[in-house]
Symmetry: C2
Subunit: 473 residues, 2 copies
């Protein structure tokens, strides 16, 4: 494809996306087609001779788009948001066009340096502790996801807890990881990948009201493990748990980690974005105790997946844990010690130029634009929660400090599950569920920049009406 063919086809794809976004609100949010529909409609092998882009776009319209869950839809309220925006798409497009590999500083100097500066910019507008800024011994990097951030933090923690032995001998003791019963499944997965096993993860009980970790229970678990000869390696605390956006008490947890010399990683995958707003920074109190911290601009900060922003207080420790230096990667810049090679901060070797999409987003929206986006989400969630609270068939299941509302029918689990199925079946909205205190609970998470009051109101009306049907049946 020569540059002029690319230009023509590129305009067509840009138009396709603009049209998709324009009409998105009129589509069903999810597909009702059974498994195998797409696969059955595709040929068994690729064409022998090339085809024009128009043919692929036509199939995109008929085969693919109707069988998607539309995450950017204004009626998508499932999971946590994973939103993108025009400037993010454009920054990523530039990245695709440049096709630069940022594994080493030398393989893309501007790719590395823009990333360092973008993470400093984010740390600045979120007022993160100085220890995470690149001007000191810390610094930030883009990971693909909070799952990978947790894994990388776990590896740094093992390196530290072993006194450096782990690099050579691996797991030769029972290292332990701690998180609340509300911690994300990626914490168990990271521990499993790192060779700690499921037994290596100690679930710490939470306060039944706030659903936040109980520091006393954490201390007791660490003490018990130490008494058994096990090695406490890492505590993963959460700002904004996945089920209900609970906030663990970092000041107390941080003090315990400091006392026992345990690495503290703070997972703020979804709720971290809230820290761009001064009035929501209470959620980050105590973060100065953390050895590492991450949040996902690709969740609630208008930057397309994948973009997890991960910071460490001591980058040297992380690099020591992860670096491997084969001859074919040796280069003068690395040996000078004056540069960052981000391959040593992550699992993979290769890496895209992901800082570009952050740069485009931060400059297009400006700080005030990002704050407006967060505040809109919080206000819409609050608007929805007030409807729920005013209807005595419903209960709010947990506090809603951010843009997630957890609620259920007082009639019980079966009714709540039936309500979810019924409202999702309309195709107008998509919500997901969790369990809170063992009870089936619906979650409505606001995040799409397309979501406005009318969509939240429609969601409520659909729920209220479906509740009548469910409770009548």
């Amino acid at each position: 494809m020569d540059p002029d063919e690319f230009r023509r086809a590129g305009y067509a794809v840009v138009d396709w996306i603009a049209d998709y976004w324009t009409m998105l609100g009129k589509r069903p949010v999810t597909s009702q087609d059974p498994p195998g529909t797409v696969a059955a409609a595709l040929p068994a092998s690729p064409p022998e001779h090339g085809e024009p882009v128009e043919a692929v776009l036509a199939d995109l319209d008929t085969l693919i788009t109707p069988r998607l869950t539309h995450w950017q839809h204004p009626g998508f309220f499932g999971y946590f948001p994973a939103n993108t925006s025009g400037p993010s798409v454009l920054g990523d497009l530039v990245s695709s066009g440049l096709g630069v590999q940022g594994m080493l500083w030398a393989t893309g100097p501007a790719c590395t340096e823009l990333e360092t500066v973008m993470l400093d910019w984010l740390a600045g507008i979120m007022d993160l502790p100085q220890r995470f800024r690149s001007t000191g011994p810390g610094g930030g990097v883009i990971q693909d996801s909070a799952s990978s951030a947790t894994l990388v933090a776990t590896l740094g923690a093992l390196h530290r807890a072993s006194g450096g032995r782990w690099r050579a001998v691996g797991i030769d003791r029972r290292y332990r990881a701690y998180t609340s019963t509300q911690g994300h499944s990626s914490i168990e997965k990271a521990a499993r990948i790192a060779g700690l096993g499921e037994d290596g993860v100690r679930p710490i009980e939470v306060d039944p009201e706030t659903l936040a970790m109980r520091p006393a229970a954490l201390r007791a678990a660490i003490e018990a493990d130490r008494a058994a000869g096990d090695v406490p390696a890492i505590v993963v605390a959460t700002i904004g748990t996945t089920s209900t956006t609970a906030v663990d008490p970092l000041p107390e947890i941080g003090a315990i980690c400091a006392e026992y010399g345990v690495w503290l990683h703070v997972d703020a995958a979804y709720a971290g974005a809230a820290a761009v707003c001064p009035e929501l920074r209470w959620s980050h109190a105590g973060l100065e105790h953390a050895d590492s911290y991450c949040f996902d601009p690709h969740k609630w900060l208008l930057t397309g997946f994948d973009c997890d922003a991960f910071w460490v207080a001591d980058r040297g420790e992380l690099i020591e844990a992860l670096t491997v230096m084969p001859e074919f990667l040796r280069n003068a810049a690395t040996e000078s010690g004056a540069v960052i090679d981000y391959r040593d901060w992550q699992v993979p070797l290769g890496r895209r130029f992901r800082a570009l999409k952050l740069w485009f987003v931060l400059r297009w929206y400006g700080v005030e634009g990002l704050r407006a986006h967060i505040r809109t989400g919080v206000a819409l969630a609050d608007r929805f929660a007030r409807r729920v609270a005013a209807d005595d068939r419903f209960d709010l299941a947990a506090p809603h400090p951010f843009s997630l509302v957890c609620f259920r029918l007082r009639a019980g689990d079966e009714a709540s599950a039936a309500l979810l199925a019924r409202v999702n079946g309309t195709g107008r909205v998509h919500l997901t569920h969790t369990r809170v205190g063992g009870r089936y609970t619906l979650r409505l998470a606001v995040g799409s920049p397309l979501t406005a009051e009318e969509h939240v109101d429609e969601a409520w009306e659909l729920l209220a009406s479906a509740a009548s049907d469910v409770l009548a049946g």
Copy 2:
């Protein structure tokens, strides 16, 4: 950014990329600016108020692009290629615009099914063993990189070698991984991440001529470890090693793995693409013994990073190793057992719709277009190697079955290193180095679709001329 703003700005970015590709050959391949140049030129914080896209594109031209290593440049011959193409960029642009999360089938049915079909398409045109097709117990998935593929294979191998214990208890024995001394650094990194430690990786000696693994040495290492009570878990064989594109003897290695019940992973990150050409499939002989296999369409198959194609012979085993099921991800489709949830095939939870770029590439080029691209690379490398062989100041350091040529000056390491520095200093080409048999060796890897005979000839002329200077000095 509303759809019409996106349309206007999108055209501008498409034009920017088309112009970049048009003028790319006239740029220096690398930047000569010292570390910190980009960071120093950027402001300390993002703007308070938003800025137009034009302002960002202007800074892209003045600040960023001049300080890149241009991986798509026709004179880029470093490392292995990491090339993209117009259709790949467009497929990825659609993915960015859709902003779909493919973690579960339910969160993007077409995202999952297109991926399964694309991996079957690739398996078909490469004539991969039937065991890797999704129609049987195996199947394929897109990983970000071969590093992650090796890690995931290692986890599957640990699950198997432990008889299922590993999920619960982690690393409680000395599991061992085997690869040749020419194996990629990501194998050591995967073993370290998985908790085996550097000691857990056994480097197996190679034939000094072919640089391929010696099966007898592999057998001896496995026997020695078993005798010591260690548990051989995985052998990573390579088709196309990073230093010299050596090909390990899979039939013999496969037989040994079968005898001892060890997982065989085959890493064909770069050279796997060659299997689209029937005349290069000799390199894949014996692959039917492998438990897993990967190659990178993002290296030599015109698909932008990240796109590693990874197959397993038994998907159930891999899923068992990696799955974690929290309440908030439960859904009817998963519970039906009729769908694939690709989150269970990889480290992260979230995932982009990366199958789109493969779909665009496979359809735009067709099978014959992909074969033509591979054959061009092989022919250009051979053309270059003939120049080297005809100049008695130079030696070829290894066979060149694919598109990589390894060579050095007979005058020794210092002269070869000086030659590399001098020729890269011209800014017209970029080569990297390795060591072969302990000796400093230059590598010229062809891969860019922009690279033609004139560029390879220019590279040779620059090298021949620089050699005269080096040898005279």
